[in-house]
């Protein structure tokens, strides 16, 4: 499983654009001639990837917002899939 270290910075890949679509009441990832409609948990992760947040920071932030959820495992699982799909890339901190 391609889960990076906790201090790896996660970014949305330059081939994709994350945006809120009012008509669909959902976040989507737009790419060349296509679109992926995101479920709310995927969107919660992706909208936190501002180019500075590490995996640990994303998990902490989400855990604060959803104290009862098993955030860490869910995030790691999603990060693995999202990386495989090319939606996000990993950046080692400077």
């Amino acid at each position: 499983m391609a889960v990076p270290d906790r201090d790896t910075v996660l970014v949305v890949s330059s081939k994709f654009r994350l945006q809120w679509e009012p008509a669909q009441q959902a976040y989507v990832l737009l790419y060349a001639e296509g679109m992926i409609k995101l479920n709310s948990s995927a969107a919660e992760v992706l909208k936190r990837l501002d180019g500075t947040r590490t995996l640990a920071a994303v998990i902490d932030d989400l855990q604060r917002q959803f104290p009862k959820a098993a955030v860490e495992n869910d995030v790691k699982e999603f990060v693995n899939v999202a990386h495989d799909q090319g939606w996000i890339s990993f950046k080692q901190p400077a």
Partner: protein
Amino acid sequence: MTRDGSASNNLPKPLWLCAELTYACPLQCPYCSNPVDFSRQRDTLKTGDWIRVLREARLMGAVQLGFSGGEPLLRRDLEAMVAEGRRLGYYTNLITSAAGLGEERLKALKQAGLDHIQISFQASSRALSDFMAGTEIFEHKLAAARLVKQYGYDIVLNFVVYRDNIDQIDLMLEMAGEVGADYVELANVQYYGWALLNRDRLLPTREQLQRAEAIAHEYQERWKGRMRVFYVIPDYYEERPKACMNGWGSIFLTVAPDGVALPCQAARQLPGIEFPNVRDHSVDWIWNESPAFNRFRGFDWMKEPCRGCPERFKDFGGCRCQAYMLTGDAANTDPVCSLAPRHDVVLSAIATANAAASADDGKRDPRRQDPAVIFRNARNSAKLSA
């Protein structure tokens, strides 16, 4: 176009807006999907009309915006439209032959916020490419593709595949690799517009297709993670029709250069349907209310065998334009389907094309004229639509 859809409401939205900015084009490709009588249409939409269309469609949920034609770069207001499209939140795609794409234009488009560029190629060799384009443009296309890459774009090469070039798809793929393409589309000609006129000359043989498909798959494996290879077979050789446009009036809205709104680029030829013009109606009315966009929506219009077929939810009965062109009735099952009452017309088209192919076996000069190539240009258009 959508993946992972958990649709909250099922009303169709025009997610894809294709803006055909002009029918003018310096190339003359004999497989062009533009209408054969394109030379009749002169009265093209002004910048302001297009901007209004972009705004209205965006409000209805359109997200992908394709600038197409003809050659969209012929319009000097392209940058203004890209900028507005991007500001509105579209993902902006330019679908071009690269004619007129130099560094200055590319810089301006980048500044306007253009997201993506797709360049079409006629062949992997200059001789065949320039012959099919009807003009010397191959070297320029290559240079433009490299420039696009330099400007930080993903470069998508679209090779149109037909009988005279299908045996060279390995060379096309090598060429794409050499340019550093991110994505290659090997798109067999679909037989609409000019392509239908030239079908006997363009349709590959079954043997050619099988060989090409094997090569495409080999490269898909070899270049995994580096370049995506997408191979589209001509639907004539399929057993089931394609889910054309994902269904009529389902996600796709085309606006022709003169403002006529269409569920696909080829629909204009269908008789008995009055396609609305964006000059006279709002995009909302056109999409939701107009008789034209509701004509083949859903499943109630279907005849047998589609009406009772479990696959109708998957392929929507295929393509209405193809049903019309090949059987004379747009409400018939797409004759590509092996269950279609008129599947024989597709089989006989294949037989004719295969016979033509074996008759010219060994004569590899692309300039040969048997059967003659009918190039897509204003002169031929005027002659054919007189």
